[in-house]
C-alpha cells in the first residue's frame, strides 16, 4: 500500500495511453479470471491481506446484532427454548430410529454386496457476511483452507442445503447459494422418486426445476431432496419445496418453481459437508473395516 507519486506517469505517456494501458491490463485479468480461472493465486494473496480487515469491519454489524440479542425479551427466549426442546425431542426420536435403520441398512448392503455409504465429516462454520456483488448470491464463511475446506464441498444448515463452496481462502471461503444463477443441484422428488435438477435464477427465495416433462409426477408441496448422483451433495438432504407448477401442453417442459427449504439468505451457522472422494472409499477397504464395527455393536 504505497502511494508515492509514480514517476513513470509524471511526464510520461499521454492520458489516453495511460488509460488504455490500465484498461487493457484489466481486461486481460478479467479474461484470465472469467475464462481460464488463472487468477486464483493472485486473488488468494490479495485476499490474505484484505480478509482480516474485512473480518474487522464486519464487527460493527455483528456488535449491533449482539446488542439487539441482548435486549430480547424473556418470553421470546422461553418460546425459542420451547421450540428447541421440541425440536431436540423430535430429533432424538428420529435419531434413534435412524441408528437402527443405519445398522440394518449396513447389513443389507453388505448382504447385497453394495458399496457402503461413506461417512461424511462436517465442518461447522459461521456466515460472516454477504459480499457486495449484486450479480451473485454468495456468502462468506469463517472457515477456509486451514480448516480443511476445499472448493466444491456442499454447505447445509439445519433445514437443508444452502449451497456449495466455490472459492477458498486460507481462513475464509465463499459459498455460492443454490439461488445463485450458476448453481445447479441434482434432486429427487421425495414422494415419487422422480429425478431432476434445480437451478437458481438469481433471486432470493426462488429456484427453478427445469427440463421436467409436462407429465412428470410432481405436485405442489412436494419436497425435493438431493439425489446424490453428482457426488457433491450427500443424498437425502432437503433442497426445496415445489411452490408452483405451470403445465402447458404447448411446451415440452413444465414450468416449476420451488422455494428453498433452508434459510438461504438468513445469517447463522452452517455445516460444510466434507464429502469423501467417490473413488477413495470403495467397497474393498470398507468391508474389512465393517466387521469390527459389527462386532462392537453386538457387545
Amino acid at each position: 500500500m504505497e502511494y508515492s507519486p509514480p514517476p513513470f506517469f509524471k511526464r510520461g505517456p499521454g492520458l489516453l495511453t495511460r488509460f488504455g494501458f490500465f484498461a487493457l491490463v484489466s481486461v486481460a485479468l478479467l479474461v484470465a479470471d472469467a475464462r481460464f480461472g488463472y487468477m486464483d493465486t493472485a486473488r488468494g494473496m490479495l485476499a490474505a491481506i484484505v480478509n482480516p480487515f474485512q473480518r474487522l469491519f464486519a464487527l460493527p454489524a455483528d456488535g449491533l446484532s449482539r446488542v439487539a440479542e441482548f435486549f430480547v425479551t424473556s418470553s421470546h427466549l422461553r418460546r425459542e427454548n420451547d421450540r428447541l426442546r421440541r425440536e431436540a425431542l423430535n430429533n432424538a426420536a428420529a435419531l434413534q430410529t435412524q441408528q437402527s435403520l443405519a445398522a440394518e441398512n449396513d447389513n443389507l448392503r453388505q448382504l447385497l454386496g453394495m458399496r457402503e455409504r461413506v461417512e461424511r465429516t462436517t465442518i461447522p462454520a459461521e456466515i460472516l457476511h454477504a459480499p457486495r456483488d449484486p450479480f451473485a448470491r454468495r456468502v462468506v464463511v469463517d472457515r477456509g483452507a486451514q480448516h480443511g475446506v476445499r472448493p466444491g464441498l456442499a454447505a447445509i444448515d439445519r433445514l437443508g442445503v444452502i449451497g456449495q463452496v466455490t472459492r477458498v481462502f486460507p481462513f475464509a471461503s465463499e459459498v455460492s447459494l443454490i439461488t445463485d444463477k450458476e448453481q445447479a443441484v441434482p434432486i429427487q422428488v421425495l414422494r415419487s422418486g422422480v429425478r431432476g435438477v434445480t437451478f437458481g435464477i438469481g433471486y432470493d427465495g426462488t429456484l427453478e426445476l427445469r427440463f421436467m416433462p409436462v407429465n412428470a409426477d410432481i405436485q405442489n408441496g412436494d419436497l425435493l431432496v438431493t439425489s446424490g448422483i453428482d457426488g457433491t451433495y450427500p443424498p437425502g438432504l432437503p433442497v426445496a419445496v415445489v411452490s408452483n407448477i405451470e403445465r402447458n401442453a404447448a411446451y415440452a417442459f413444465a414450468r416449476i418453481t420451488c422455494t428453498p427449504a433452508a434459510g438461504v439468505s438468513s445469517y447463522g451457522q452452517i455445516l460444510i459437508v466434507n464429502a469423501a472422494e467417490a473413488g477413495a472409499d470403495p467397497a474393498a477397504p470398507g468391508s474389512p473395516g465393517a466387521p469390527p464395527a459389527a462386532v462392537q455393536e453386538q457387545r
Partner: protein
C-alpha cells in the same frame, strides 16, 4: 444554491499522508459489512474519494493506486478479478478529462457530473459481468451512483475541511 465555482477557494496543499488517510477510510467504509439490501445499495465511497482527489488536486493521484484499489475491492467483493480495477480506470480517465469543467460549476452541476462518472464506471462493470454470463440485476444496480452523487457535497466538505486556509473566515 451555491455560487459559481464551488470550491474555488485556495486550499493548502494536501500531504500524501492525508490522501492516504482518506483513501484508507474510504476503503474501510466499503469493507464495512451492512445487513441485507443495504449492502447492495451502498454508495461506493472509494470511487467518490478518488474523484475528489483527481478533480481538486489534479496530478496527485495517478491511475496505478486507483487500479490497485480496484483489485482490492474485487477481492473484497468476490467479483471478477479486474472488474472494479477497470471501473476505476474508467472513472479516473473521465475525472481527469472533466476536472477543469467540474471545478467551474456550482454544487448541483458538480453532482450531475459526479453522477455521470459513477454511472459510466458502473455501466462498464455491468458490461463486464454481462459478458461473463451474469443477468442484469435490475435498475437498483445504479442506485449506488445516485446515492453517491447525493453524497458528493458532504464528502466534498468533509475531505477539504482540514485543507481550508486558517483565516478565521470559516462559516462552518
Amino acid at each position: 444554491m451555491a455560487e459559481r465555482g464551488e470550491g474555488s477557494e485556495i486550499l493548502r496543499p494536501a500531504r500524501w499522508g492525508y490522501i492516504l488517510l482518506t483513501l484508507t477510510i474510504a476503503v474501510s467504509a466499503n469493507l464495512l459489512a451492512l445487513p441485507g439490501v443495504a449492502q447492495i445499495l451502498r454508495p461506493d465511497l472509494l470511487a467518490l474519494t478518488l474523484i475528489y482527489w483527481v478533480v481538486y488536486h489534479p496530478r496527485r493521484l495517478g491511475f496505478l493506486p486507483a487500479w490497485i484499489l480496484g483489485l482490492v475491492m474485487d477481492v473484497a467483493n468476490g467479483s471478477l478479478f479486474g472488474e472494479h480495477a477497470l471501473g476505476y480506470a474508467v472513472l479516473m480517465y473521465l475525472s481527469i478529462v472533466l476536472y477543469r469543467r467540474i471545478v467551474m460549476f456550482g454544487m448541483i452541476q458538480q453532482m450531475l457530473h459526479v453522477f455521470a462518472i459513477l454511472v459510466v464506471s458502473q455501466a462498464v462493470m455491468l458490461v463486464v459481468r454481462l459478458a461473463a454470463g451474469a443477468d442484469f440485476p435490475g435498475i437498483t444496480y445504479f442506485v449506488p451512483s445516485v446515492l453517491g452523487a447525493l453524497l458528493w457535497p458532504a464528502l466534498f466538505a468533509l475531505i477539504r475541511m482540514p485543507l481550508r486556509p486558517r483565516t478565521g473566515a470559516d462559516v462552518a
